[in-house]
């Protein structure tokens, strides 16, 4: 009986430890992404403000930075990597895909001809 109780407490302790580790890991992710997002914002700002990046490339450049930021936002801060987000993910990505096709299609056919 005593032995049984002991095992159970051990299991509980183990679980608590794991949760703590996972929590720590997540906090690390939060810290890293927070710093990265500030840096990315600064880079984008600097790219335009300093005129060091050619105008033609600057738009594309800051758009790419923005996309990276969106992924940080969705996966780190809005926890999309966690379980149970299959349908929101499907919905979002098919929406993004269709919007992208639409924009690229119209832009390609109207503003290049």
């Amino acid at each position: 009986m005593a032995d049984h109780n002991n095992t159970e407490t051990n299991i509980h302790r183990n679980e608590a430890l794991q949760r703590k580790l996972a929590f720590k890991e997540e906090r690390k992710h939060h810290n890293v992404s927070f710093i990265m997002m500030i840096l990315l914002t600064l880079v984008a700002f600097y790219a335009i403000w300093s005129d060091k990046v050619a105008d033609s490339f600057a738009v594309l450049f800051i758009l790419v930075l923005a996309v990276v930021q969106v992924f940080f936002q969705l996966y780190i801060w809005m926890h999309l990597s966690h379980k149970g987000h299959d349908f929101p993910l499907w919905g979002m990505f098919s929406g993004i895909l269709i919007a992208a096709i639409t924009v690229v299609g119209i832009a390609g056919m109207i503003w290049t001809s």
Partner: protein, 614 residues
């Protein structure tokens, strides 16, 4: 546990105006859709009468333009769409073992928005002329059209489009979250699958329409220049945006019809659907490809060979999943014990008719050939073969099949068969000659033609066919009226159904399932019947059932937008403010008043269960 007493029963008109019950909303959609179907049909009849002989003067050219615009707009947005929503409402929650949709209040709102959008558009006939720029409302024809017809078009579609969008989202959430235990995705009946994909298409296709209509409204009401080349705009922007919506729209229409046909063919062949997983895959693939083909409506615009070729290939690719479906229906019937009930007749008539529409579709997908077909009666024949021969025949099959479940009455089979044969023969008589009229050079949307061009005879035949279709529709309405007599009460499972909606006692209780059923396979009810069980195995004990309260707010919100639309059309800002105030105040009430619904108590449910006859 409930703190609320059982709700007071509302009766008569108030019950219908405040209902949030998906079964009653389904009936409302059916009645309203049927009403607009008659209006759109009358407009078609007037056009056919005008065209029955050369240089006829039954209607003037301007009236003809209004008729063709209103016929297209009414039939697509206010007849086919609500009829699809009618069956989705009536059937989908029952097929997945749910007690209602996810958001019953929003469901009612969706219906009333659609209804007032349709009423607004049709009031244009009485208020100085209907829209006359075609259902596609191409700029600059639509932006420069005289009078306020096109304003009615913009605002009517905007309001009803919002209703369709919330309806689509509602069904997505319902199908994802409210399936009964054991009802996995790959056990869902095909009609539910098609409703699911259609709702997804609505979610992604209607926002472009909303944006396009906003741009058109700004252009007309506030003198914007999106489509005005003189000020840096581009008329092609409207065409692109409209068809980015418009092409998925036709798949929104056809997919639920495919679903209904799949149910009917399987039920009346007494076989499970052949290639269920291939059917699901084909449905999803058609939905996906539907967003990649919009330019095939614009081949003659001059986008260049590269764009045209890409979209031509994508268009032809859709024939593959559609062909998969056709063959699966044929293989379902092959070796089955086929019962030719009226519903099955519609389904069997659907298959070759839709194939013909599909074949002309592939012909039109060839850009070089399309330069010949474009804007001719060939195109008119093609899209009537897929929309009447596809969507409407499928909806009629669904109507005869699900009518007992929706109204606790059966439709008379003899009258049903008369309806089928007159409508079916009339349909082919009307539209088959139009292929040749098109190839002979008769342009679409033109109010008359000259004699001596070999167009007289085929047009005459076409008009006779239209009258046959009208007779068929009248027979349907006689049938509906007769069905209200007591003689036509059915059993709860008149067709030996396979899916969950037939496992419910008759008449359908307000809460659908006294106990949520446990689903043990595809064709859940058939699985139980094959195992010798009387009904479904319950997945829960009998208990209190939580129900949503009825509400008048959806109706008032929609009336608010209806009033505001008049303000925009007639440029009277006070009316806009009053209308929007009505809508926002009702939204405010909806937000701050806690509405917990009510419970149907265990004792009442048990009482109902005692009286059940299966």
């Amino acid at each position: 546990m409930s703190t609320h007493a059982s709700h007071k029963k509302r009766s008569g008109l108030m019950d219908w105006l405040t209902t949030v019950d998906h079964k009653k909303i389904g009936i409302l959609y059916l009645i309203a859709g049927g009403f607009f179907f008659i209006i759109g049909g009358l407009e078609a009849m007037f056009m056919r009468i005008q065209l029955f002989k050369p240089e006829n003067d039954f209607v003037a050219a301007e009236t003809f333009n209004q008729l063709l615009t209103m016929h297209g707009t009414t039939m697509i947005f206010f007849a086919a769409m609500p009829l699809i929503f009618a069956f989705m409402n009536a059937v989908v929650p029952l097929q997945i073992g749910a007690r209602d949709v996810a958001f019953p209040f929003v469901n009612a709102l969706g219906f009333w928005l659609f209804f007032f959008g349709g009423v607004l558009l049709n009031l244009s006939w009485l208020l100085g002329g209907a829209p006359d720029a075609g259902w596609t409302a191409y700029a600059p024809l639509s932006t420069t059209s005289e009078g306020s017809g096109v304003d009615f078009y913009v605002l009517g579609l905007q309001i009803s489009g919002a209703g369709t969008l919330v309806g689509g989202i509602n069904f997505l959430v319902t199908i994802i979250n409210m399936r009964a235990p054991g009802m996995t995705f790959m056990r869902m009946p095909l009609f539910t699958w098609t409703a699911f994909v259609t709702s997804g298409l609505i979610l992604f296709a209607f926002p472009p329409l909303t944006i396009g209509l906003f741009m058109l409204m700004f252009e007309r009401v506030f003198d914007a220049n999106f489509f005005n080349p003189d000020n840096g705009g581009n008329i092609l922007i409207w065409e692109h945006i409209f068809w980015i919506f418009g092409h998925p729209e036709v798949y929104i229409l056809i997919l639920p019809s495919f679903g209904a046909i799949s149910e009917v063919v399987a039920t009346f062949s007494r076989k499970r659907l052949f290639g269920y997983s291939a059917m699901v895959f084909a449905t999803v693939l058609i939905g996906f490809l539907g967003f990649m083909v919009w330019v095939h409506h614009m081949f003659t615009v001059g986008l260049g060979p590269v764009a045209n070729s890409i979209f031509a290939v994508a268009t032809m690719a859709i024939a593959v999943p559609t062909g998969v479906k056709i063959f699966n229906w044929l293989f379902t019937m092959w070796g089955g014990k086929i019962v030719f009930s009226t519903a099955m007749l519609w389904a069997v008539g659907f298959i070759p008719t839709f194939v013909m529409g599909g074949v002309t579709g592939v012909m039109l997908a060839i850009p070089s050939a399309d330069y010949q077909f474009h804007d001719s009666y060939f195109v008119v024949a093609h899209f009537h073969y897929v929309i009447v021969g596809g969507v409407i025949l499928g909806l009629f099959a669904g109507l005869y099949y699900w009518y007992p479940r929706m109204f606790n009455r059966v439709l008379n089979e003899t009258l049903g068969k008369i309806h089928f044969w007159t409508f079916f023969i009339g349909f082919h008589l009307t539209f088959f000659p139009q292929h040749f009229l098109g190839l002979m050079g008769m342009p679409r949307r033109v109010f008359t033609y000259l004699s001596g061009q070999d167009l007289d005879q085929l047009n005459f035949i076409s008009t006779i066919g239209a009258f046959l279709m009208a007779i068929g529709t009248i027979v349907l309405f006689i049938n509906v009226i007769i069905s209200t007599s007591k003689k036509y009460a059915p059993s709860s499972d008149p067709w030996h159904g396979r899916t969950l909606e037939w496992a419910i006692p008759y008449p359908t209780p307000e809460y659908n399932f006294a106990q949520t059923p446990l689903v043990r396979g595809l064709d859940a009810f058939w699985v139980e019947k094959a195992a010798g069980n009387k009904g479904m195995t319950p997945a829960e004990p009998v208990g209190d059932i939580h129900m949503p309260n009825p509400s008048i707010l959806p109706l008032i919100m929609s009336i608010g937008l209806f009033v505001a639309a008049f303000g925009l059309i007639y440029d009277t800002m006070t009316v806009v403010v009053i209308g929007m105030a009505i809508t926002f105040i009702s939204m405010f009430f909806r937000s701050v008043i806690d509405d917990h619904g009510f419970h149907i108590h265990k004792e009442e449910v048990e009482e109902d269960l005692k009286g059940v006859k299966l």
